[in-house]
């Protein structure tokens, strides 16, 4: 088990593999530190994943779970696991992983520790589109479709406006994004204020981040895996870019090209996450900082570790959202904050 776990970890931290061949050095100490982190993350994710399949309004034993997964008959247990809990758990992981990865990327892009996936108005654009769709009485596919289109419109709008006369500085991008996001915020308030009855409740749930209608899609998985791989390829360039554009340029990184890639990656991730589950807050801001507090800012470790911690955190939050006051459900976005804040504060205290 131990060996298997380590193999998986090394797959996520490509820099560990080579350095590990030379034991007894100081860098080997660094590596073993990361291996512990990735081992804990992997173990926790597996644990939360299994718990998420077992726990809920219908209690399922481990034996029943295995049976349902192997046999896949038409029993109640099988239906609950395969049709409801498994896709929801997987989507929860994907949403968390997307947001944490997008947050880590956005923070380098804007060189601002306060940056998060929604800061440039991605979720605002998606929200306005979704609320409009809901106001028109449409549901199902229309919700996720309009979310994605709204997010893309916002992404292109900010990109175009921030570009100006060729200068694409982090400050200009940040200000443009924040202003556009504020505009979307005003439209959201407008729509909420003219909506009444049960529609209002589903709108509020969507705005707080909700996995209950989330459906798994292969496109989202492809986006997630693709963005993770590309971001790992440029991870060392991000280490350089985090020290400033000038410094990056003197070290052979083309800041503009890398920043275009990062903008595209983080926007796609944020848009996909919003499309899947609405505005799950907090994960994208805090998870990268948690990892930084633990292992520093090497993006070759930070990005995959954020990916895993973000996914695990949202899975755990959703697990609790379904069970704390069952049969009623809570919006997952509320739970991510309730779990994440104390953990983050403890880490921060230990560091300082």
């Amino acid at each position: 088990m131990q060996k298997k776990r380590n193999e998986k970890n090394e797959g996520f931290a490509p820099n560990n593999r080579v350095m590990n061949k030379k034991p007894g050095s100081i860098s080997a100490v660094f590596v073993s530190k990361h291996i512990v982190l990735f081992a804990v993350l992997t173990f926790s994710i597996i644990g939360i994943f299994i718990a998420s399949l077992l726990i809920g309004s219908v209690d399922i034993s481990a034996k029943q779970l295995l049976h349902a997964l192997w046999v896949q008959d038409d029993s109640l247990v099988s239906n609950v696991v395969l049709e409801l809990r498994l896709p929801r758990t997987v989507v929860g992981f994907m949403v968390g992983a997307m947001l944490a990865l997008a947050g880590a990327l956005m923070q380098v892009l804007l060189r601002n520790p306060l940056a998060e996936p929604y800061i440039l108005g991605i979720s605002g654009g998606a929200s306005v589109a979704v609320l409009t769709t809901m106001l028109l009485g449409l549901s199902g596919f229309w919700i996720s479709g309009s979310a994605f289109i709204g997010a893309m419109i916002s992404m292109l709008l900010v990109f175009g406006l921030a570009h100006g006369k060729g200068d694409w500085s982090p400050v200009r991008l940040l200000l443009t994004g924040i202003v556009i996001a504020a505009g979307w915020g005003a439209l959201i308030s407008l729509i909420l204020s003219i909506t009444q009855g049960p529609q209002l409740r589903s709108m509020l749930f969507w705005l707080m981040g909700d996995l209950s209608y989330a459906t798994y899609s292969n496109w989202s998985l492809l986006t997630l895996i693709g963005c993770l791989l590309v971001s790992l390829v440029i991870a060392r360039s991000l280490n350089v870019l985090a020290r400033g554009e000038m410094q990056a340029a003197t070290l052979g990184v083309s800041p503009k090209r890398v920043r275009y890639i990062v903008y595209f990656l983080s926007s796609m991730l944020a848009a996909s996450a919003v499309t899947l589950a609405g505005n799950v807050g907090f994960v994208g801001l805090i998870v990268p900082h948690m990892i930084r507090l633990m292992i520093g800012s090497d993006h070759r470790v930070l990005l995959p570790a954020s990916f895993m911690l973000g996914g695990g955190l949202v899975m755990l939050a959703d697990c609790l959202a379904r069970t704390v006051i069952a049969p009623q459900q809570l919006p997952v976005g509320v739970l991510t904050a309730i779990i994440g804040i104390p953990v983050f504060l403890v880490l921060l205290r230990r560091q300082l």
Partner: protein, 257 residues
């Protein structure tokens, strides 16, 4: 073959001219000092030499090839720039920071080898930061940060060292030891240095050539003993400056108005 050559170079920043038709050649083995009053455009000129800014007119050649035609990554293996300031927003250790100097030497899929880490630790030892390698950068003092930035440049190991006020924040001991080391390192690579300085006495001590940015149309450059005179300095800074010949060489003292 000159290492860096500017031909009728005209540059400006925010509409303010920095130089008009500047011609200068930096040969291997030379050490250039750039002196000028505040706001004369010394940093802008240095950034242009590093290929970070476009020129208005004229060309810059590095190793006889137009600067713009060099692939960015290949260029950064041969040309390094010490920026005036470094700012670190995200937490990072001293060793991690110095290792970014290896970036241009590694392919995108490669990771730092044990040998690269040796280079990093050696560079930290060269600036007397070897005991600080696990410290967070934001706990360093201004002078220690400056030494860390110099160590990063040593890890980058270019042929042409462009230094923007390398002695900023450094105490007397480090001003001397680090400048001497940078000159030595450039020698080892058969390269050259070009640095912006504010201290004419450091310039006399280490530079073979001097560029005085008196005005955009009047940039005096040449050998240090010919150019670095009290008259020229007084013209440069619009301030009385006195030269004193000593056994240790010529030193300059500012007078008063």
């Amino acid at each position: 073959m000159s290492l860096l050559e500017a031909k009728s170079l005209t540059i400006s920043i925010a509409g303010i001219p920095v130089c008009n038709g500047l011609n200068v050649k930096i040969q291997r083995g030379e050490c250039w000092g750039i002196l000028g009053s505040n706001g004369a455009g010394k940093t802008t000129l240095l950034h242009t030499f590093a290929g970070l800014r476009p020129t208005d007119k004229g060309q810059i050649y590095f190793s006889d090839k137009l600067l713009g035609e060099w692939p960015r990554k290949l260029l950064s293996q041969k040309l390094g720039l010490l920026l005036q300031d470094s700012n670190d927003i995200f937490p990072s250790t001293v060793l991690d920071t110095v290792m970014i100097g290896r970036h241009p030497h590694l392919k995108f899929w490669e990771v730092e080898s044990q040998g690269d880490f040796e280079l990093g630790r050696k560079a930290l030892a060269d600036v007397s930061l070897e005991d600080a390698q696990d410290r967070q950068v934001n706990t360093l003092s201004g002078g220690e940060r400056r030494r860390l930035a110099i160590a990063t440049l040593l890890v980058q190991n270019p042929e042409l060292f462009l230094l923007d006020e390398p002695t900023n924040h450094l105490d007397m001991r480090y001003q001397i030891t680090l400048l001497e080391m940078l000159v030595r390192r450039a020698d080892v690579r058969d390269g050259a240095l070009c640095m912006v300085l504010h201290d004419a006495n450091l310039a006399t001590r280490y530079c073979s050539h001097i560029m005085l940015m008196i005005s955009p149309d009047d940039i005096v450059s040449g050998r240090v003993d010919e150019v670095l005179t009290d008259e020229n300095l007084a013209r440069l800074y619009q301030f009385p400056i006195k030269a004193i010949e000593t056994n240790e060489g010529r030193i300059f003292l500012p007078g008063s108005l």
